[in-house]
């Protein structure tokens, strides 16, 4: 079978063939490996690739694959054959979104207000941490997307500037 993954914009194709004797022939790009594999418990795989024996942890959620190997965790996106996954857009530029999950403790501006570059707009708090959302440029507040007391997620837009 062939599997397709994308990591940081690079696409990889992995071909797996089961051989006589139970081992696998796995091709990654141009490189071919003979691999022995055992599933220890769900999500835990012991592999041997040559004289190296490895334990890999794999978590599958939707099309995301988390793989931990040698204590580094890698995030892969599984692509379905023939159709590319949609790319997630780049995060919104500027300081107008929550950079951490937390609670809005103060909104310092009003809709329609003119603001200067660097002017604090919203104060966000999580345990023992405060973060000021400041205007990345001068402009007018088109809309406020939060109010004091709101619990917001990372990446959530809090203020719209014109």
């Amino acid at each position: 079978m062939e599997y397709h993954y994308e990591v940081n914009g690079t696409r990889y194709t992995v071909r797996v063939d089961q051989e006589e004797g139970g081992h696998y022939r796995v091709t990654v790009g141009e490189r071919t490996y003979v691999v022995q594999a055992e599933r220890r418990e769900p999500g835990v795989f012991d592999l041997s690739v040559g004289t190296r024996y490895l334990r890999a942890y794999v978590v599958q959620t939707g099309t995301r694959r988390l793989v931990a190997l040698d204590a580094n965790t890698y995030v892969l996106e599984r692509l379905r054959e023939g159709r590319r996954q949609r790319h997630l857009g780049a995060p919104h530029a500027g300081q107008l979104e929550a950079q951490m999950p937390g609670q809005v403790i103060a909104v310092l501006v009003e809709e329609g207000q003119e603001v200067d570059v660097g002017q604090p707009l919203v104060i966000l708090e999580a345990m023992k941490m405060e973060l000021r959302i400041v205007a990345p440029r001068a402009g007018r507040v088109r809309a406020l997307r939060c109010q004091p007391g709101d619990v917001v997620d990372r990446g959530q837009q809090l203020v719209e500037l014109e």
């Binding site: 990591v7 490996y33 769900p42 690739v49 942890y57 965790t73």
Partner: protein, 503 residues
Amino acid sequence: MFSKLLVANRGEIAVRIIRACQELGIRTVAVYSEADARALHTLLADEAHLIGPPSPVESYLHAERLIEVALKTGCEAVHPGYGFLAENAAFAETVRAAGLTFVGPPAEAIRLMGDKVAARARMAQADVPVVPGYEGEGDVDEFLAAARALGYPVLVKAAGGGGGRGMRVVAREADLPAALDTARREARNAFGSDRVYLEKYVDRPRHIEFQVLADHHGHVVHLFERECSVQRRHQKIIEESPSPVLDEELRRHMGAAAVAAARAVGYVNAGTVEFLVDAERRFYFLEMNTRLQVEHPVTELVVGVDLVKAQLAIAAGEPLPFTQAELSQRGHAIECRIYAEDPARGFLPATGRVVRAVEPVGPWVRVDAGITTGDTITHYYDPMIAKLIVWGEHRDDALRRMAWALDQYIIMGVTTNITFLRDVVRHPAFQRGDITTDFVERYFVGWRPPDTSVPDEVLIAAALAEQADTPPAVRANHGDSGERAGDPFSPWNVADGFRPGRV
């Protein structure tokens, strides 16, 4: 000893306290907020009671509710852990007023040490060195005169403060009036009091603290120092003992000062006296933490005393089982705090579900974890996942062991500071012990995780996992031999016998 105790906390410290109680045969009552149902501490305790919504104010800070649970369940004592109500004098009083034993110091000692100005004065009386400063209640001119006498830079601090809140470094006389205003406003908002004071600014100090234990029979001992200079945003991330900088003489002087500080406030139970040590190896009282510290394990491993059990014994009225002369340091211990946070983005806390946690295991490797596989980290509480503590015969040995242990630690599902810590413990300045409180800002500004390309083995593992997790019927349609269709194990069993490539 008590027969039943309420643990008024959550996370790893609640777990730590419950385990100590289990060994001593003390039954435990855990409390939890709605965000913590099924947290580790609720599983380990003999009973667990819901105390309110996730917000700390409505749960772990809700003193009346905690005491209500303690009384209802027949507890005799309350252990506050650290954080939350641990340094709240009123809580200690309320607990005692309810006829319960508070596992901690007298309310008076908590209150006095919580007032930084009063504490400075009491310490000076007891000949414990304090940073030169000005605690007057005068007007701006008097502050200006005092600052001039001290010499710039000076530090403006809140009397009721701690943790860096309401603190300002002022380098020039012209900036002082504005700094006083800002600090007063911040202090009022944060602590309800706008009292501020001045201190001479100690440049690039070391943060070294002494653990003390005091019983109800007048015995006070110290258990030597912890070096806590590696900090980010005034929060410690790596602690060790002994300090690489103390010699026997300085250690003796500072230990004696710590004991004097505790005696001066009538201290009982476990506490920590924090000092600044400057480049000339002069030391100054900074503050006293009137509770168990996060970093208590490094002392435990080096001195060989279980501090939680010691707290319980002291609270039960037992005398200390050792004298100062019987205590000694052996080897070297280091603690790294494992946080759900992103060091490449200003150490912003991260949240999410830990889909898998694999802790390092080995001789002299200790993991005090509050979060394990399947737990969710919310924004309501401190994002600490665990404390990783190692002991070694000497500092180099401990450093190697810590580097090894960090290399084994796997947390999947949330961003952590583990990769960052790996780089810190291998940094030449850290290896030399050349650490001051500006260590992180000095050497790790702009730190980024190493740009790891994806090893082929990762892609191989991902692909084989798809293969293993595809039901045989489906795999047969894709050319798979389908041999495993008769597998007697259901696919989600542990030990399911999937071993296609078994040698």
